[in-house]
């Protein structure tokens, strides 16, 4: 197993996976929050637009989105963000991942809002808080706590889904795994175990932290 680490840049590939994860998680959080605000806003059009986005994106395979980033944006439109081929692919993979997971972030945030009982908003209004105050002091803190578990699950899914970036030629773990398999078919099982355990190591802490947080910050009702 040591051979694999000395012959191939396994840690480097996992590094790219982590970079992809962090960047697209930030992107997905920003886009997802915007869409979630649209989804809960009282403006009918924004509401419908948000719903359309979520329904379209959530029902499209991620592989298709990533392939579209490649074929549609890079090849067809020639939209390049960097002259460096590898960096360009990385950026477009990040964009695809962020747009895809934003739909799930939106749903996670919305389900957090839905955990707040109507009585909380009514109580906030009846003691004379303004709209801003009731959001800030009463509703959002509870909504955020309710969203921790689904957000954590989305982050775990995102970490694993970065492997799809191999479809656009990003040098992350799944791509390296294919190369290793072709070079060293005798080490098939160790290759799988190294990659698989790497992902367990990446995703396990996220699950533990979100579980701990959601329990620690749970709202007693």
């Amino acid at each position: 197993m040591g051979e694999l680490f000395s012959q191939y840049n396994v840690l480097g590939a996992f590094g790219i996976t982590i970079v992809l994860t962090v960047l697209s998680a930030l992107g997905a959080l920003v886009i997802g929050t915007v869409v979630a605000i649209m989804r809960v806003s009282p403006v009918g059009f924004l509401n419908k637009l948000g719903a359309l986005y979520v329904n379209l994106v959530r029902n499209t395979p991620l592989t298709l989105i990533i392939v579209f980033c490649n074929i549609g944006f890079i090849v067809n439109l020639g939209m390049s963000v960097s002259d460096d081929f590898a960096r360009n692919n990385l950026v477009w993979a990040t964009i695809g991942l962020a747009f895809y997971h934003a739909a799930f972030v939106c749903e996670a945030l919305r389900s957090g809002v839905n955990t707040v009982p109507a009585g909380q908003a009514e109580a906030a209004r009846s003691i004379g808080l303004t709209f801003g105050q009731s959001l800030r002091e009463v509703l959002l803190p509870q909504a955020f706590r309710g969203a921790i578990t689904p957000l954590g699950n989305t982050l775990i899914a995102l970490t694993k889904n970065t492997t799809v970036a191999t479809a656009i030629g990003v040098a992350e773990v799944a791509g390296l795994m294919k190369t290793m398999q072709e070079d060293r078919p005798d080490l098939m099982v160790p290759i799988f175990l190294v990659v698989a355990i790497g992902f367990v190591i990446l995703t396990l802490p996220i699950g533990l932290v979100t579980t701990h947080l959601s329990q620690k910050l749970a709202v007693k009702r």
Partner: protein, 310 residues
Amino acid sequence: MSSVLFDIPGPKARARHRLIMIVSVVLTLLALAWAVSRFAAKGNLEAAKWTPFLTGDIWINYLIPGLINTLKAAAISVVLAGAFGLFFGIGRLSDNAVIRWISTVIVEFFRSVPVLVMMVAAFGLFSFNRVFEASINPLAAVITGLTLYNGSVVAELLRSGVGGLPSGQSEAGLAIGLTRSQTLRSILLPQAITAMLPALVSQLVVILKDTALGAIITYPELLTTFSQIGSYKSNPVPALIVIALIFIAINYLLTSAAAKIEARLRDKGRATIAKGTIGPPNRVDLEPVEEALIAADESVLHERYRTPDK
């Protein structure tokens, strides 16, 4: 519209909402127009690139065979994942610590490994060891990956479905003299599976979407056909859009079916598990119930045999 957050708008708020709406409609149209013009500049809107989809040729030779392969892989995976999930889900609820522990490790492991990694690994293993005929390897690899991952999710759903039932259910089962496994089989599991139904249907969407990963390991599914159509009619972008619409249509139907089932169950007053909330481990703990029963028994016995002495 979330009534929790907002009051019913008055005249001022309605005017403000109208203004926001107009601004956002204009912005959306501008963005759309910009995107369409970019794609039109590269000739993607030419009629010649879209008319092939109105002919039978493309559908009969490419799209429909691709869709059939996608559905075939998904259907086989659904059946196998159901069996896998039932087996290890019950394993995780077992009294036997060893079985429980092994099931937990297997389920948690396959849940945290990316589906693509499992597909690539299975593909490598199958083709290196010549397990199947070369032509079946991609399909077998897709099914293996989907089964291991989704089976683990089903096992987890099963466990949280059982864990989410009121404790009175298992207590009642034990109280009428059923054994623990009888209680699980005839009281807890049927209710848990009903509660899981919406989440299970949503999982079908995940399976169907993940068959598209097969494109990466050369399984000739729906997404793969885009490159064939694209090089045949030199219209890769329209082909991708049509394929996306097929996926969206099927998955949208499944998603709405899940929502409908959930609404119906809720109307009947049944519990459901929300998707995406498979949380911390919470095994149904029958221990305290049994201890209480035994303790109660003993105190009765003590009473009975002690009183005559006095």
